[in-house]
Amino acid sequence: MTFSAFLFQALNGLSTATGLFFIAVGLSLIFGVSRIINIAHGSLYMLGTYIAYSFATRIGGALGFWGGIVATTLIVGAIGALIEVLLLRRVYRAPELFQLLATFALVLVINDAVLWLWGPEDLLGPRAPGLRGSIEVLGRHLPTYDLFLIVIGPLVLVALHFTLARTRFGRLVRAATQDREMVSALGVNQAVLFTSVFALGAALAGFGGALQVAREPANLATDLIAIGDAFVVVVVGGMGSITGAYLAAVIIAEVKAICIGIGVVDFGFGTVNFSKLTLVAEFLVMAIVLIVRPYGLLGRPQGQVRSVAEPEDPIRPATPALKALGIVTLMFLLCLPLVAQSSPYLLILGIDVLIAIIFATSLHFIMGPGGMHSFGHAAYFGLGAYGAALLVKWLALPMGVALTAAPLVALAGALLFGWFAVRLSGVYLAMLTLAFAQIVWALVFQWETLTGGSNGVIGVWPPKPFDKASVYFLLTLVLAVIAVLLLRRFLFAPFGYSMRAGRDSALRAEAIGIDVKRVHWLGFAIAGAICGVAGGLFAFAKGSISPETIHVSRSIDGLVMVLLGGIQTLTGPIVGASVFATLQDTVMRQTEYWRALLGVIILLLVMAFPQGIVGAFSSLWRRAGAKP
């Protein structure tokens, strides 16, 4: 690549950076003030593109395009305000991260709403009136619209900077980011502040999305791609720093642009296709930044948040009633193959649910008692699944060996990734785990000669007698019971207590001789290994494994299961996984708009059970017990 081509590619990167910046900065502002990780932020960005498309095509002309962008910004801002008032305000006092569930449900609902309103086709808007041409730069044509994008990013950055530095609103936002309890103690109306910040963040996302209308087609997959990119940008730049967000957006966009520019390079010992690296490049950048600068490039340690949720109750051994319930459930499940002879689907559902239970229980192990909110648990599921499947494919090893190897492969991955992850905390830990999961995903996606790339590994069927659904169901049941009881045992043992001690007060735990990082690291590894079992079982249950089954959505599914059941209870993940997996398997079959339906169900559950399903029932139980 020539030097001028390189520079041109860099210019291209700058115009992409603007879009990244607009979505990331809103996410960062909202997180700073409300501590909500708004997964639906990518959906707002996507809505921006679609709404602007409608303005530009229905009204048309300069008014439709430029006026449409302004109107879209206001509309998306208003939608943001509405979401805050109608939904998020009701769940602020729920345990940490619970709001994430609500915003995840919104992702599903908004995606289907867009599908319903605009249809499944990609929609390419008109070119921007007045900026249709291009100018010659370095002997190439650069569209003037891209030039406009390059300029508008820094302009908005400066405007935001002045708003935050000079206005009363800006001072309140900065103050709330540092210590929101103090701000509310000083008599600031928090409701208004939260709503306006949410509206501002949403409007910025809408603006960013609207600007894309002349560049890229509106597409239904934009929401999750955009939110993934935005997370990376926010974390690399440092939570709450708008300059950091711009800096990070530029770095990420440039790294991607340059990877595409370099293309295929022959190193002598082999060729590397750099343009394929774009999938993983941003996550590599994030992992490196987080390891070197744990709070991002321009970030500072997060302000202390005094938890608003009820503190957790001490854990107690199972009551006789709970034990009885467990035995009855187990009896029922053991008999299920007999009942299910007439409907084989029931057994498939049963296997899915049991695998989900192992997955969710292992995630809960580190999320709840360990306080480590992993957003990348799919990595260990994937390592287990691919570990088992590849042993069968390449070495033709029997299922027993492959299923034993699955947790070991996952354990190795968890030991490696966990060592870095436990050095961080809070949202930074969450993002680093997400980055590792993306790296695993990109690895299996691109290492085609080993993993089969996007086709995955097929033909991983269990041998006799496990080829019968009923027998495989029983195998899964046995392993699930062992996994759940083992993790439970660990939690009641000194190790589990030490993990909780480190979460409750790292200061006190260190002062009584507990090596908190080491305990959390080993906890992370245990959870990873158990999760690997779920992955191995999954591969044999489906007969195949492909990259899409271990994508970020599986990590999010895990979070949803744990939060839905109740993060502060030990049986929560079991109930949450059962409910979620059943809903997913049944609702999905009923309607084309299954996402919206699932989203609405999750929203209703979130409103009805702010402590999760089991959390809600156990407080009901306690209240009933307290009465004479």
């Binding site: 503190p311 854990i315 009641f492 207590y497 909780r500 001690a501 006190r508 002062a511 009584i512 305990v519």
Partner: protein
């Protein structure tokens, strides 16, 4: 031999010499108060001894071995217990489990995966709770307790590894006057029984003069006085830099 010997300890933050060439010792069984106005360097000094800060220079000899710069958990293993200015306990655990955690760690059972933690060292934990007067509350969730009681739990935790030295950073901060005296009297009684040495910082002068065997005074990072309470009370330099007009003493019974 003294239990703890601090030799020429120094720590600077940027241009500020928070602790500047401080030297003192604590004898076995001694109840030593460290006082000084805000910003005198008490907390910095304290945090170097307990391992939260690394000194720029100087030695911290605990029973002859230099513990300067070690991690807090390593210092604890040497036999140094501590309480915090803002009491820190494990809020998701019961009162007794909090104490059991310290006993489990002391016994080297932290990584144990099989036995139930709640059944380990229960008798010993109950014994410690009785000593601080909290046996009745053993099985209550610790987050339900009043702050004064949390302080007592912390004391039981701190005594669990039978420390030879107890570090208490403002043990009575945030407590009512009556509770303060009760707590310090309890601490004094427990450490006298065991022969434990105590180093504590304190803002409440009535507590200091009623209980301390000896008092050291820091001002602007330097040690300016070291002596028994009577001598400190009459020390002109201490009065000047710390007590100003000396009115602080008006209410203290002679």
């Amino acid at each position: 031999m003294s239990v703890l010997a601090i030799r020429s300890l120094s720590k600077a933050f940027g241009g500020v010499r928070a602790v500047n060439d401080v030297t003192f010792e604590i004898e076995r069984g001694e109840f030593l108060a460290m006082i000084g106005p805000n910003g005198a360097g008490k907390s910095t000094c304290f945090n170097m001894i307990n391992g939260q800060l690394k000194p720029d220079s100087g030695q911290i000899l605990f029973e002859g071995s230099d513990i300067a710069g070690l991690e807090p958990r390593a210092i604890w293993r040497f036999g140094v217990g501590r309480t915090f200015q803002v009491a820190a306990t494990f809020s998701s655990m019961t009162v007794i489990e909090n104490v059991q955690m310290a006993l489990i760690s002391h016994a080297g059972e932290t990584y144990e995966l099989w036995r139930a933690a709640a059944e380990l060292h229960r008798d010993r934990a109950l014994d410690l709770l009785s000593q601080v007067g909290m046996r009745e509350a053993a099985d209550r969730p610790s987050r339900e307790l009043a702050y004064g009681d949390i302080k007592r739990i912390e004391l039981a935790i701190a005594l669990a590894n039978q420390p030879r030295l107890l570090l208490m950073d403002e043990p009575t901060a945030g407590m009512a006057p009556r509770e303060r005296n009760d707590l310090i009297a309890l601490v004094k009684q427990l450490v006298v029984e065991r022969g434990t040495s105590v180093l504590f910082t304190e803002h409440s002068m009535d507590v200091v003069f009623a209980f301390a065997d000896r008092v050291i005074v820091l001002a602007r990072g330097r040690l300016i006085a070291d002596g028994d309470p009577a001598a400190i009370r009459n020390n002109v330099q201490v009065r000047e830099v710390y007590f100003g007009t000396g009115k602080t003493f008006a209410g203290v019974p002679q």
